[in-house]
Symmetry: C2
Subunit: 341 residues, 2 copies
DNA sequence: CTGAAAGCGCTTACAG
DNA sequence: CTGAAAGCGCTTACAG
């Protein structure tokens, strides 16, 4: 049987309320001797507060949901980049005395269920598309504080942190331009007028403008963010773009696939073609050659997300605008001066 | 304000109990018309049951904890291999109507707190050392059903699934032996007389015995399971073992590091030295050459873990012995016939 | 500094 | 087929 407040109270010869006050650190209300005695007895008995009882009677559950998209019968769709986020988020929440409920979301309707059933104090959306974030309304989220990571949705309910995608792409492209490259392929998934990929594309464009380089729409290659698609692109790259001397890929996995495709078709990286990625996964260090890429500060992003959310929960300070997390360029071995043509 | 059973009951003109029965599918007890009406009204009102109220009054919380080791101020220590496990476990639990609480554990004492505070129905230990698993007693786990994945601890409280490490290593080593290799280095972390690495070592030894090959204790290389340590080993491998023609590494990341070290020191893989890994991470396909490795059936392992745990919870059928998950050898490009010496 | 009462939203026997 | 009562373990005003 579980040890309850009542058990501790009886043993200590005080009321349940007093024990509750001691456990919750409302010390001003209890005499030092009582505090000491109650704490000792609680420890002896191995008392652990019941979180469900707490969340039922108090307004707060100290439970945060981490919602991640999941195709219906599929596993969670956590990208390698987001994996690190999960670990960091858990750590930050634990440090602040919150617990984490990890939940895959197969369809919009599940969001409400996920948020309400455990009376979550808040929730973090990780890896959702902007359209999905747009779809959240006051009705679906209720009174739960929600925050989306890496979202460019303008939904005021979900404002959170995101990496500086624009600057990252601009740095990466500028690095290539500075090395003398003028025919740089942009490789990434299809994009619209808003969102992560769009921002990275704009950064790529801006870098060209920064140095007065012309830029050609021909150089956009739309591919899925997979190693296989990257390899495919790498294999045919110089057939499609004989003048190209560099590639900026919107993800490391993609970039590494491209490097493989290039290698298999006899193109040397970086001697013939330079390649830059985005994310700075561990993978980059393992690749041959080591991949030059844009590094995101995952720890900062996770910590910021948690801080914003908890702030919003505890102080009612809903953020008014997104926080941008700084990125940096990590130069490794996959980029070199443009070859003379 | 939250919609409660009472709200639905009032609107439907029935008692709270009847609504509860309908929501929980105890249909035998309610007339079809009432069921229909209650369901319609619950949907209209957007009723979502309160999980904390449920778990407080019922014996079941339908909450499963996923406990993962975490150094005190550190992020979760989830290996690449275990990442996939998390996603699969969440999916299986969701399919069965359970929720997942993800919790980092910095010290043994936190286990009790984690298990009791949310009245977990059960918990899965992922990535714990056998010694830590050994330390769990009836007192620390209370009445919570617990299961450890990939553990060789003999603790009867934590019996769960684990990959067939012995057979995996045996297959990998046999593959090398069949290719004519007779000087095969075993590279892995330090191990004792029990545990995952020990099992893999025994498999390595057994494979030698299977073909009547002699085996030399000199060939054991103790390294951390990191790319950096692998590279270090690869760099000096032929200095330390001039006769070696192959390496069996207990992890893919390690194997890929070894391949890099070998390449950097001018040794060709697989022409001069063959390398085999363990895990079959996505990484293996990205490596150059693609890594031959032992594949674990992660989906099966996760599904088995969840099935065993839920079975234990719902039917009181505590497993009496561990379930071994089949492994297989995936031949890729990092292994070739032994060179003539 | 300490306590008795009400209530959070549900489920579980027990009646009818 | 349907319901009234008790209780799960806590917290929140409100008294004293």
């Amino acid at each position: 049987m579980r040890v309850t407040l009542r058990d501790v109270a009886e043993r200590a010869g005080v009321s349940i309320m007093t024990v509750s006050n001691v456990i919750n650190g409302n010390r001003a209300r209890v005499s030092p001797e009582t505090i000491e005695r109650v704490q000792r007895i609680a420890a002896e008995l191995g008392y652990v507060p019941s979180a469900s009882a707490r969340s039922l009677s108090a307004r707060s559950s100290r439970l945060i949901g981490l919602l991640v998209p999941a195709a219906d019968e599929d596993s969670l769709m956590i990208s390698p980049h987001n994996v690190a986020m999960v670990g960091q988020i858990e750590r930050e929440l634990r440090r602040l005395g919150y617990h984490l409920l990890l939940r895959g979301i197969a369809n919009q309707r599940e969001v409400t269920e996920a948020l309400q059933s455990w009376s979550l104090d808040g929730a973090i959306l990780l890896g959702f598309l902007d359209e999905q974030v747009d779809g959240l309304t006051a009705k679906t989220v209720g009174s739960v504080h929600v925050l989306a990571i890496d979202s460019y949705s303008t939904n005021p309910l979900t404002i959170g942190p995101r990496s500086d995608d624009f600057t990252g792409a601009r740095l990466a492209t500028r690095h290539l331009l500075d090395l003398g490259h003028r025919r740089i392929v942009f490789a990434g998934p299809a994009f619209t007028g808003v969102g992560v990929v769009h921002e990275r594309f704009e950064g790529y464009r801006q870098a060209h403008a920064d140095v007065g380089a012309t830029w050609d729409g021909q150089f956009i290659e739309t591919v899925n963010t997979t190693h296989a698609d990257g390899r495919e692109l790498g294999l045919g790259l110089l057939d499609r773009h004989p003048e190209a001397t560099a590639v900026f890929a919107t993800a490391d996995v993609l970039a590494i696939g491209i490097m493989r495709g290039l290698a298999e078709s006899g193109v040397r990286v970086p001697d013939d073609v330079s390649v830059v990625g985005f994310d700075d996964l561990d993978l980059c260090e393992y690749a041959v050659p080591r991949l030059t890429t844009v590094s995101q500060d995952i720890t900062a992003k996770a910590a910021t997300a948690v801080r914003m959310l908890i702030d919003s929960i505890e102080n009612g300070a809903r953020p008014s605008e997104p926080v941008t997390i700084t990125v940096s360029l990590v130069k490794r071995e996959s980029t070199a001066p443009a070859p003379h043509q």
